[in-house]
Symmetry: C2
Subunit: 205 residues, 2 copies
């Protein structure tokens, strides 16, 4: 069976960076935005729309997407189509080879693939710091506003997760390892993590 690591993460916790760096170090395929691109290709909906509806929880009435909204018979139909496509695409990815998948409920959708599931989280101070570092220089970020946004995005991720799962997003029991990145530099923890992952896949069940 292929070695598949799924990474779920709180916004601003550095989960995506962990995924990318792990994929580089372990020489694994990496999937994140690629999944949205693929859904977009197959449904005709714009990437922005899919991202908004599937992870950000934004349900715009008048939104700029490729295909006519009416042809879906409403938001719920569009959401269902996205979920179905997402499942198809994740399954294809899982069959293809060893990989790391960030977000998209891959831990739940691929539950029969014996995936190693990681959850990445951190305290608000670290999240704000990370968001500020990533922001463009000319972007003025108000900390209070940023905090509100961070909380809202995670609420939406939780909501989206609930659509596809009976488990609670972020509940440690659903993951094999939960990493609190507060105060840490992501690059520093990659080496021990790669070793932990390799050990995990060598285990006898």
């Amino acid at each position: 069976m292929n070695r598949i690591v799924t990474i779920s993460r709180e916004f601003g916790s550095g989960g995506r960076e962990i995924g990318k760096r792990l994929a580089d170090t372990l020489n694994l395929a990496y999937y994140d935005k690629e999944i949205i691109t693929e859904i977009s290709k197959e449904t005709g909906l714009s990437e922005e729309y899919i991202d908004n509806i599937s992870e950000k929880g934004i349900y715009p009435i008048a939104f700029n997407f490729g295909r006519s909204f009416a042809s879906f018979g409403g938001i719920q139909s569009a959401q269902t189509e996205i979920l179905v496509k997402q499942q198809e695409i994740l399954t294809k990815i899982a069959e293809k080879g060893n990989c790391i998948i960030v977000g998209r409920g891959a831990d739940v959708i691929l539950k029969d693939y014996n995936t190693m599931n990681i959850f990445v989280y951190s305290d608000m101070k670290s999240k704000i710091k990370r968001c500020k570092i990533k922001a463009k220089e000319d972007e003025k970020l108000d900390e209070k506003e940023l905090e509100k946004q961070i909380i809202q995005i995670d609420k939406n991720r939780k909501k989206f997760y609930n659509l596809i799962s009976n488990f609670e997003w972020g509940n440690k029991n659903n993951y094999n390892l939960c990493i609190n990145t507060s105060g840490l530099e992501i690059k520093d923890i990659i080496l021990p993590l790669t070793q932990y992952i390799e050990t995990w896949f060598r285990r006898k069940e």
Copy 2:
């Protein structure tokens, strides 16, 4: 500041074994039962009684302990004395040098010592398997009964934790790393864990 790793753990998850092995590998002092022995010395209460009252949540009326129960003015007084002594002893340990402490709410009591806090947990199948391996050969363990005991012990740990903390026992936000040992051999994960811990203590805050 001394490097202090605290390990909280679900019963049967292998947390104690992780603590011992990490201490050996990292060449750190290890505290677990030693804390009870010390409380016993200083209070005159038997080790068994302290263990029962402080972690197992058993509050016996007629129990075999060193000092007369009446001299405490009841269970609550005994519990308070144990908690006070525990705090004193843990603080002494933290001042002494680098170490690993298993259980006893050390993560909360030593919150000003910049400890690295680990939570170890696993699924019920793995817990039962571990308990069976550890049981004496002549001990007959009924799985249903064992499961009940495991659940009860963790409930008591949670209860005890609530006495000293506003945090929820086992809530990932209170820990720096949460390790799900389901299906894993503890000895296999020690090397990556020691490296993760060393990285953690080298971080810049």
